[in-house]
Amino acid sequence: MQRNPKVAYMFLAPALILMTVFIALPVIASLVISLTDFNIFALANWSNAKFIGIDNFVRLFQDGLFWKALRNTLYFVAVGVPLAIALALILAILLNSPLNRAKGLFRVGHYLPSITETVAIAVVWRWVLNPRYGILKRALEVFSIQSPSWLGDPRWAMPAIIMMAVWKGLGHNALIFLAGLQSIPPTVYEAARIDGATSRQQFIYVTLPLLAPTTFFVSIMTLIGYLQLFAEPYTLTDGGPLDATLSIVLYMYRHGFKFFNLGYASAMAYVLFALIFAATLLAMRSRAKEVTY
């Protein structure tokens, strides 16, 4: 370990300066802005912004549309996260199976959606989901299932967005699970087999508990990402129909960068921040005791 603070600070300086200017100070500035009525007039001249205390937050909790956005986001998270985790785990187990006959192809193939840009792929999905010419309608017809009008129907728009989000993130999460599965030492399974454990028992009593840290990590990351839902509804539905897919970040974007109600939007950003923080804490507290064998 080199004791030379001057040199160390020199190496640190660029990163710390950038992080201070673009992250640390803005976090504080954001809180200050959320306590003002910063709007389009203040945009031209900052001194037009007035301090209004917590009025923005009070207004937020009386704003029906904000509640709607909050409910929609929680719906997306509550259905999307468990679905994403369960499917990713199943996929990882299949990929990890010694019976898998095309390891490379299946791994890369399932990972592909994860690297694609959300807007570009959402545009594709809008076409996939097209109620008259879409390929999904065609695929469902093969099984004699009548396709709903997906993005045009307030009941089906959010499920469609969940479907796309889960599809897109599946490979990425599965790959992390795969790394977790492969880090479980084979000796543990051997011991379980000698004790007469069936495959199912091995899965429940060996795989799942030893995989808990990975599951925890994947869940938290997915949860945080899903709470920030934006690009999908922005591209697919613009929050519609009847605000059925309006998310918190989309609503914030509208207020902030369409109407330039930056004070109000900052208050929303802080509520989102609090939500993410609370969700993370909650998940950490409920974290199952780590098992080691």
């Binding site: 976090v27 898998n100 890369v108 193939g109 592909l112 694609t116 065609r138 902030g256 921040f273």
Partner: protein, 276 residues
């Protein structure tokens, strides 16, 4: 013997994986197929995989009328700059945290890690105001600067550099090498695998970034690809062939990049998971 005993299970596993693969790739195939279709073919039902009259009109229009080349160049410039600068700055900071002792080290490191908890939406508005004040809206600097320093990058580089033996640097110091020489000629070359992984994650991340460019680039000449494609989808709402061609231009380069750099990609993802 074992193979035969497991025949039904083998079929089941590979069948499920094949179904999964089909679900994963179908939208891509559908995108490619539609991008080569004329209006008549696009609105044919039931749809055909191979267009009856394959055409390049959509791509022609994309480059001529919509001028997608400009956002393409903007995206390349932004993603390359962010990646290069981020690798340099994060490895410098990672090196300091890994190999130096200095006052307030732990506090600073915790501070850096703490920023991982902060969602981008919180900083967006003040950073927008700051850059507006500095006259950096619709500039490359505005697109690049906020994306350079990342807590994850610093942490990632630190974890790698910590494993390098101290003796290498000590020996160079005894030989009278200057600190920047040691960093540039000894530490960085040894970091190649880590830099490759982090660089790939950075590059795809900034190539795919949407919300920030959407906010900072209000002028068409500074659109990045995702913004341009979102705009295209709004402006030409029913021209699905054209929209698909636009998505192809965004998606295909990154897929090709992925194919070449696959190994580092997979390692990188596995590593990010290990953090948990």
């Amino acid at each position: 013997m074992r193979l035969f005993r497991n025949a039904p299970a083998t079929v089941l596993v590979n069948l499920l994986l094949t179904i999964g693969l089909l679900c994963m790739s179908a939208p891509f195939v559908w995108m490619l197929s539609t991008s080569f279709k004329g209006t008549k073919d696009v609105f044919r039902y039931p749809p055909r995989l191979i267009p009856e009259v394959p055409t390049l009109t959509n791509y022609e229009k994309l480059f001529r009328t919509v001028n997608i080349a400009r956002p393409f160049i903007n995206t390349v410039v932004t993603a390359v700059s962010i990646t290069a600068l981020s690798l340099l700055i994060c490895s410098m900071a990672g090196y300091a945290f890994a190999k130096f002792d200095f006052p307030a080290k732990n506090v600073l490191f915790m501070g850096v890690l703490g920023t991982l908890m902060i969602p981008g939406q919180i900083t967006m508005i003040p950073v927008f105001l700051l850059l507006k004040k500095m006259g950096l809206l619709n500039t490359y600097s505005g697109l690049i600067l906020p994306g350079i320093a990342s807590a994850f990058g610093i942490f990632f580089m630190r974890q790698f550099i910590v494993t390098l033996p101290d003796e290498l640097m000590e020996a160079a110091r005894i030989d009278g090498a200057r600190e920047f020489f040691i960093f540039g000629r000894i530490v960085l070359p040894l970091c190649k695998p880590a830099l490759a992984t982090l660089g790939i994650l950075n590059f795809t991340g900034s190539w795919n970034n949407f919300l920030w460019p959407l906010i900072i680039s209000t002028d068409e000449s500074m659109y990045t690809l995702p913004v341009a494609v979102a705009n295209l989808a709004g402006q030409y709402a029913t021209e699905y062939g054209l929209q698909m061609a636009g998505s192809v231009v965004v998606i295909v380069p990154i897929v090709i990049f992925f194919m070449f750099a696959q190994r580092w990609f997979m390692e990188g993802v596995a590593l990010t998971g290990m953090k948990g």
